[in-house]
């Protein structure tokens, strides 16, 4: 084995090592990108799911198939604060009045996920057990305006004064590569349930 052979082995080792490092880096980058892209898709899908559910329920504030069951829909919101709301509605369109409550749980409910900010958005129908799925909600903020368009301050002692509301929703991935959590933000400005003030 001559000197040139040693050079060949050394050279091929260096080249092979470089290729290996490139492969490792490629794997790392691919994993990161997969996490990021996948995470973004997931948060987008989660956002649409949450938004569609919120829109479906909030548009029915004060609605009942048997309209005589809610004679004064303007008083349909029972309680309201910045992260929760409770109102009268008819969730399954059967003519029976239901109460529906949305509220944002504490971050301590989801300590098992890597994201320290995600929380459960609970939906409680009548006196049933709060239902919720971890969709990565990190912000659920409600802002209320009265009939004159004036911002209402908390606590809201008379929810009947609420004419419109603003909903802010932020969703992040529950897990992320390198703590880079993809996030999406959605805002519904001046949402007004038609049943709330239609009579």
């Amino acid at each position: 084995m001559g000197f040139s052979t040693l050079i060949d082995i050394l050279g091929s080792t260096i080249v092979g090592g470089m290729l290996l490092m490139i492969l490792w880096r490629l794997d790392d980058a691919a994993t990161q990108n997969s996490f990021n892209y996948g995470g973004e898709v997931i948060v987008q899908k989660n956002l649409v799911e949450v938004v569609q559910l919120l829109e479906y329920d909030f548009r029915k504030i004060g609605y009942c198939k048997d309209w005589t069951q809610i004679p004064d829909p303007s008083q349909s919101i029972i309680s309201a604060d910045s992260t929760s709301i409770k109102f009268l509605t008819d969730t399954n369109n059967n003519g029976t009045v239901d109460t529906l409550r949305y509220y944002l749980g504490p971050a301590s409910d989801l300590t098992m996920t890597p994201n320290p900010r995600d929380r459960m958005l609970y939906r409680v129908e009548n006196h049933n057990t709060p239902a919720g799925a971890n969709l990565g909600v990190t912000e659920f903020k409600l802002t209320y305006y009265n009939a004159l368009g004036t911002l209402m301050s908390f606590p809201i002692s008379n929810p009947g004064q609420i004419a419109t509301m603003q909903i802010d929703l932020k969703i992040e991935s529950t897990a992320a590569y390198n703590n880079e959590y993809p996030s999406v933000f959605w805002r519904q400005i001046r949402m007004s349930s038609r049943n709330l003030k239609n009579r």
């Binding site: 990108n33 892209y37 569609q52 309209w67 239609n198 009579r199």
Partner: protein
């Protein structure tokens, strides 16, 4: 050998990049798909809402409209609107169940000519199974918005609106609601709404004109919302009320005289009544069950004044018209007028009173009303005048008492009920204590005037 290895390396890396690239492309496509699905769904919803609004507007313009829309193009989508409206009667119409088994299932009364079209999309003749809510007096709009293959449905129910739903209604307001004033129930003024300070409105407030704040700073408190640009002019269909009345009191035909009628209600469901033709003496009082005198509860006094008091056990609407005879068309409350079963204590109470006067409704000043609180439980409607105590009760008595109203006041104008000091507090007369009878949101006294418009009672989307 080295060349082959290089080719294999290039091919291998290319394969890896292709797989990764395909994966990323799929993720991107999925994200766009997700956004597009939401966009399509939102567009279809907006189109359905537009169709419902168009149809509702048509019905507000023409109370008998039921044509609907077929494949109307809106915003690059289409909308189909089906309307059930029996304002012009049920002749030539068929009851059908629209879209049975879906969220859009609804019993409708549709034109016979449209039956085949409904049968073609799976409807069937007859009310929907298990749908007890069908009410032929309710108009229904079903609007189906279609966008990129996504269909969204909006269902709107409308009912004829009655003036009895108002806690307060005024064609104009010569007095301005001020700080400390509390108005219970729905409120409407067919003019600008002027407020002084921060009066409180507990029901929904509507006004033809705008909200005008005068005087000190502060905003009115709207606990049920506020909407401007709503026109609901008073109407008085004496012909319709007369033709549906159970009993009509009037002076002899051709005498051109007025008549006065006493209607004193007894808590056993009877009424003691007496009449006095202008210039003559009172007739002998007679007592009879309300259901005998007026089986449907509609009492009409033509060119007459009504004097009333007592405890009503039943449902009655009394109407006083002028018919060209001066000094008539008024209703005088001569003592407390209340329900046998107080609805504030017994919500299931069916006792109900409507008072309709072409001119004024007055609390008469007499020994039974002076220097004491006065109770009125009724929905009161004064077409050309106002509602309140005689001047002698409002201004003449030296002490302050309460006028406790349970019901509604619908009048051409406001009337002062007491004297106020410079601080804005009543000092003598009758202090206005009004509570809205919430039953009138869903049921009204027999034959009480309608506004002539529909109101939306249900919006499902």
């Amino acid at each position: 050998m080295g060349g082959k290895a290089a080719i294999l390396l290039v091919l291998g890396f290319s394969l890896i990049f292709l797989v990764l690239g395909q994966n990323f492309m799929n993720l991107t496509t999925s994200a766009v798909d997700n956004s597009m699905n939401y966009y399509n769904s939102t567009q279809a919803y907006n189109i359905a809402v537009s169709g419902a609004n168009l149809a509702a507007n048509q019905i507000f313009m023409d109370k008998t409209w039921s044509a609907g829309y077929t494949n109307l193009t809106i915003g690059y989508g289409t909308v189909n609107v089906y309307v059930s409206n029996n304002t012009s009667g049920t002749s030539g119409k068929t009851i059908m169940c629209h879209k049975p088994g879906t969220n859009a299932q609804k019993t409708m009364d549709i034109s016979n000519s449209a039956v085949s079209g409904h049968l073609n999309h799976g409807d069937y003749v007859g009310a929907c199974t298990g749908d007890p809510s069908y009410n032929s007096s309710i108009a229904t709009i079903i609007s189906e918005g279609i966008y990129n293959g996504v269909t969204k449905t909006v269902i709107v129910d409308l009912k004829p609106s009655s003036f009895a739903k108002f806690g307060n209604y005024y064609s104009s307001m010569s007095a301005i609601p001020a700080t400390g004033d509390v108005f219970d129930g729905p409120f409407h003024v067919e003019a600008n709404l002027q407020v002084y300070g921060s009066p409180q409105f507990n029901g929904k407030v509507t006004a033809l004109g705008s909200l005008q704040q005068v005087g000190p700073s502060g905003a009115p408190i709207f606990n049920g919302g506020f909407q401007s640009g709503v026109s609901l002019p008073m109407s008085f269909d004496t012909t319709g009320i007369r033709s549906s009345a159970d009993i009509i009191f009037r002076a002899p035909v051709g005498s051109n005289k007025g008549i006065s009628v006493q209607l004193y209600f007894n808590n056993n469901g009877t009424v003691t009544y007496s009449t006095q033709v202008q210039g003559a003496s009172w007739s002998t009082a007679q007592t009879t069950p309300i259901t005998t005198l007026a089986p449907n509860g509609k009492i009409y006094v033509e060119a007459g004044n009504i004097y009333t008091k007592g405890t009503l056990n039943g449902q009655v609407t009394m109407t006083a018209t002028t018919r060209g005879v001066t000094g008539y068309g008024n209703i005088y409350q001569v003592d407390d007028l209340q329900y046998h079963s107080d609805p504030t204590q017994h919500p299931s109470s069916t006792d109900m009173l409507g008072m309709i006067a072409e001119q004024n409704i007055r609390i008469q000043s007499n020994s039974q009303t002076q220097n004491k609180d006065v109770v009125t439980q009724a929905s009161m409607y004064s077409m050309h005048g106002n509602i309140g105590p005689d001047d002698n009760l409002a201004m003449g008595q030296s002490t302050l008492h309460d006028w406790k109203i349970l019901g509604g006041l619908i009048a051409h104008d406001l009337r002062v009920t007491a004297n106020y000091n410079y601080s804005g507090n009543p000092v003598n007369g009758l202090r206005f204590r009004h509570t809205y009878d919430t039953r009138f949101l869903t049921v009204v006294p027999p034959g009480f005037p309608n506004t002539g418009n529909f109101e939306i009672v249900g919006w499902y989307e």
